[in-house]
């Protein structure tokens, strides 16, 4: 059994629909694996860090997946683009034992490093702003969720990150002649991908015995 916490800020005024779409794709992907137990958290659960702290504490100290589609900054994941619900110096150490994937601006900088420093297994995120274009949001969502698609196929972290980069490149090549600005943003997103921690881990490393909980 693999435990997974899926977080999205679906009530965000600007990007709520996009985050929800990414979440739905991610949920379908991980559930198709067969032995993944999914805990879903939406905007109302991340108004403060209380619920998420309880949820993560319930998994502690077992390995788990933490997948998040929200705004972010260098030190935190944010609700509404301003309220931290996972932050350096606040509760980042709760992600000890987690494989973390965050589609959030800049969280790959300090937050990702801090989580690994606190004992996190691996962190995949973005060390710069990430962008979403509304003319073709499905392309941005497909790229954003591709790490999880690959990781769920039991590729390890580095292979999955490389496959995600390849997916970005595939779409860049498909659209740059007709939509150069979106292609340019895909390049920006792709080149901001960053990995911290053990990049050789795969989904098997997060399986616990059925009686662990």
């Amino acid at each position: 059994m693999v435990n997974a916490i899926l977080v999205r800020d679906n009530a965000d005024v600007a990007l709520g629909d996009f985050f929800e779409n990414c979440h739905n794709q991610t949920k379908a992907i991980v559930e198709s694996v067969g032995d993944v137990s999914v805990d879903e958290m939406e905007s109302t659960h991340i108004d403060t860090d209380i619920v998420i702290n309880m949820k993560i504490n319930s998994l502690h100290p077992y390995p788990f997946l933490f997948i998040s589609y929200t705004h972010g900054n260098e030190t935190a994941l944010l609700k509404d683009g301003r309220m931290p619900f996972i932050a350096v110096g606040q509760n980042h150490q709760l992600l000890k034992n987690a494989c973390v994937y965050c589609y959030a601006c800049k969280a790959g900088k300090e937050l990702g490093r801090a989580i690994i420093h606190a004992g996190g297994k691996c962190f995949v995120g973005y060390n710069d702003s990430v962008e979403v274009h509304l003319r073709q949001p499905e392309i941005f969502a497909e790229c954003a969720t591709h790490f999880i698609r690959s990781f769920s196929a039991n590729n390890n972290v580095i292979q999955s990150a490389q496959e995600m980069k390849a997916k970005y490149t595939e779409h860049i090549d498909n659209i740059y002649k007709t939509n150069a600005l979106s292609a340019a943003s895909l390049v920006k997103n792709r080149d901001a991908i960053v990995i911290h921690g053990d990049n050789g881990l795969s989904l098997n490393d997060f399986r616990t015995t059925p009686n662990s909980f």
Binding site: D12, V13, A14, L15, F18, H71, G81, C105, S129, V130, E131, V132, H133, L134, R135, T169, I172, D173, Y176, A180, L181, S182, A183, A184, S185, V187, K188, D191
Partner: protein
């Protein structure tokens, strides 16, 4: 010889320059050369034709009831930083204010006594700068979209703002930090495509 698809806008209150040899010569190279002796007419023409490739030749000294060249340049820059503006003037350089011309990104300064060859050479230089300017390329790409598409929400910024292509066009023309970032991203895309042999410099 095929003429270049760039419009030259000359702004000078002395209508005698309308028949200046450089204007006659410029018409051999450029599709459209327009002379404006009233600055407001020129500013109106420029603001209504921002989608065209324009190069402005601008005098500095106008009658007291008209704006100075400095003020005209400032007005142009309130709409766009992508049009090269060549200052062409006989003012006493010791008595004229030049810093704001530099701040407003004047492309070059020519004295009124400059030869036709010098002025034409400077026009070609300005034309090349438009060709090589990624911001101008981005402007052209956005302009090629329909007005409906340009008004529609196009992208979301990290701080939650929704931008249409027209918003992006304005950022690019004004060369705001965001507009410069768009141009930078397009340069990165170009380098990426070249590096992976998806495109070549020979087209």
């Amino acid at each position: 010889m095929k003429k270049l698809d760039t419009t030259i806008v000359v702004i000078d209150d002395d209508i005698n320059f309308k028949r200046d040899p450089f204007i006659v010569e410029a018409r051999e190279f450029f599709k459209d050369v327009r002379f404006f002796d009233i600055p407001q007419d020129a500013i109106k023409y420029i603001s209504e034709n921002l989608e065209k490739r324009l190069i402005v030749i601008l005098d500095l000294l106008f009658p007291s009831n008209e704006p100075t060249g400095n003020e005209i340049l400032k007005t142009i820059r309130e709409s766009t930083f992508l049009i090269p503006v060549i200052i062409w003037s006989g003012v006493d350089e010791a008595k004229w204010s030049f810093p704001d011309l530099i701040n407003n990104n004047a492309f070059a300064y020519l004295k009124k006594g400059a030869s036709s060859a010098e002025i034409i050479a400077k026009l070609f230089e300005a034309n090349t700068s438009i060709n090589n300017d990624i911001s101008s390329a981005l402007e052209s790409w956005i302009e090629a979209n329909s007005e409906k598409d340009r008004e529609a929400p196009y992208m979301l910024t990290v701080d939650g703002r929704t931008l249409s292509l027209n918003d992006i066009l304005n950022e690019v023309r004004m060369q705001t930090p965001e507009g410069i970032e768009f141009s930078k991203k397009l340069t990165t895309l170009t380098i990426d495509l070249l590096a992976r042999n998806k495109e070549s410099l020979n087209g």
